[in-house]
Assembly symmetry: C2
Homo-oligomer: 337 residues x 2
């Protein structure tokens, strides 16, 4: 075993990659929510100037990367790698967004955990000495996701109380080997956990066991108590999934008093009729690159554990009666310089 | 810039990861083809014991990983990372195959370039000092791909002369930081290239420009002549795409006399009615883990440049009139100890 791996599944970076730039974009509903002020760009028409929803999602990814690079003071040519993913079949939002950029590209599929997966791979690439700068982007769009996963918007399908609302949003992070800014110090790479949940309208429950496993593994591997972190933030478990997570952790003897969930805070759950909260790759990607990192930069928090969760199933798998495998990666980010 | 990156997009591994184990599996048509003897397992019913085609593909991935681990003399628990991908929506063959393994997991979407993408990321993880062992798996299945991308088999759609045949096959590679076997010495990470091809029945033409760009970049970055390699092997350009590649390279002043293409050699093109050849993530994955690596191990070749290509589009993108973005990664593998 090598020195950069501690415990069973956690990486400790020798030279923690620095977040040099970050940007996000969101749609109308997100812009009307409590995190409105933390979005760099809000399109009240949700189209981002494009004729199809898939192209709208793609335009969001293009824009956030462009904005994050600007904030980092870098040109696209200075990127050694781009890691990107989304929820669309064949991850087309990411691929088409990267098409016009001449950057070495790794396409990811981690469902809603994509931002975490990308941050880990980008951090390994930089800490491993393979480059100086890497970017990670992830997105989701309510309208492209509804069309693909559920029913076309025009159908007007009803939602169950456990359902979540796919966030129209995207986030980009630009990482560097050098510079000042929040740093990625550790990362716990998630394992797939499937406890047999088959209800595709209750994804929080399907993903909570994976979140529990990743957080428990992270604390075990780093020998840290939950209180080391000012905030332990899951991706999009939503309200019900978050309750389940706390219960599952409690059974493992871990009590979290500093937990929040991107899906639970991105909307005003009562006023905005989103049932259990937000979901989608763009949910934690836009919350990380706005609310969370701005709070870290402002000194509101010092240490965050960012734990995006993903449900690695598909409509076809659901039709065939398969249960929903979940995954969660835990990424430790420390503020300041 | 750091020392492990040479030129614009090539990584030179300080401690080249070693291929400790490899395994593949294939279906009937592949088993009837010229590479039959190089497959570890052939299922003449193509079902791999499962009731649905998606589950069949998943079973293939499970089996090849299991077999490759056995050949490497490792247990699943000794794997630090698993990198996996396939062509199915939401990459379910990979996720469900990994569900029962308790291994830190990275889901990839690189279309038919997935095996190359995975080998690069796994090599970075090991050479970067983040673990001792990593596995890469990739698969495709003719029947699950036809259902998803084209028409159900029962429809009996006709194929154009430029079309390729999705390979029913999977491959797994187990890499280690130590040990003896073929080594991954360099890798050129591909950029997305889109020259405006919109014909989804002519993927070879869509991907050839990306293959040309990756091979040219690799040779430029490493300052190697094509003759350094005994074989430069593209993934699944097929016959037409391969012709285009040679023509495009020729225009760049590079003439290849040692090129072959997994898609062009996996079938008997005349006798097996596959038009331009094989395609799918499983095509180059099964050819690499059989024909190519066995040849390397046997000393038939010393240096291979493995260049899997991927088309990063989707049926939805095609319906919306989008052209097909291609990608190609080039992975240099040296035989012996």
């Amino acid at each position: 075993m090598t020195s950069k791996k501690i415990g069973e599944q956690t990486l400790a970076f020798d030279r923690p990659p620095v977040i040099l730039g970050r940007a996000n974009a969101a749609g109308r509903k997100e812009g009307e929510g409590p995190l409105s002020a933390t979005f760099d760009y809000i399109d009240n028409r949700d189209t981002f100037g494009q004729p199809t929803w898939e192209q709208s999602e793609c335009a969001m990814q293009r824009q956030v990367l462009s904005d994050a690079l600007k904030k980092a003071g870098l040109s696209g040519e200075q990127l050694d790698f781009l890691f990107a993913g989304d929820l669309l079949n064949q991850c087309i939002a990411s691929a088409y967004a990267a098409r016009d950029r001449c950057v070495p590209y790794f396409g990811l599929y981690g469902a809603c955990s994509t931002m975490g997966e990308g941050l880990i791979l980008a951090s390994m690439a930089l800490d491993g000495g393979f480059g100086s700068h890497a970017a990670v982007t992830a997105s989701s769009h309510f309208c492209s996701a509804e069309r693909q996963y559920r029913t076309p918007l025009e159908y007007g399908g009803q939602r169950t109380p456990t359902a979540q609302w796919t966030v129209t949003g995207a986030g980009a992070v630009v990482l560097g080997r050098d510079g000042s800014g929040p740093k990625i110090t550790h990362a716990t790479v998630g394992k797939i956990v499937d406890k047999g949940v088959t209800d595709t309208n209750n994804m929080g429950a399907a993903m909570a066991p994976a979140a529990c496993a990743a957080i428990a593994a992270h604390l075990r591997d780093t020998k840290r108590s939950p209180d080391f972190y000012d905030l332990i933030v899951t991706g999009d478990l939503g309200v019900l999934g978050s309750e389940l997570l706390l219960e599952l952790l409690d059974r493992e003897g871990i009590s979290l008093h500093n937990h929040t969930d991107c899906g639970s805070i991105i909307y005003d759950l009562q006023a905005q009729d989103v049932h259990c909260g937000g979901s989608g790759c763009g949910c934690c990607a836009s919350v990380l690159t706005g609310y969370l990192l701005s709070g870290l930069e402002a000194g509101r928090w010092k240490n965050l554990l960012f734990c995006p969760t993903g449900a690695l199933h598909s409509p076809t798998a659901a039709f065939q009666g398969e249960s929903i495998p979940g995954i969660c990666h835990a990424v430790a980010i420390s503020g300041g310089n």
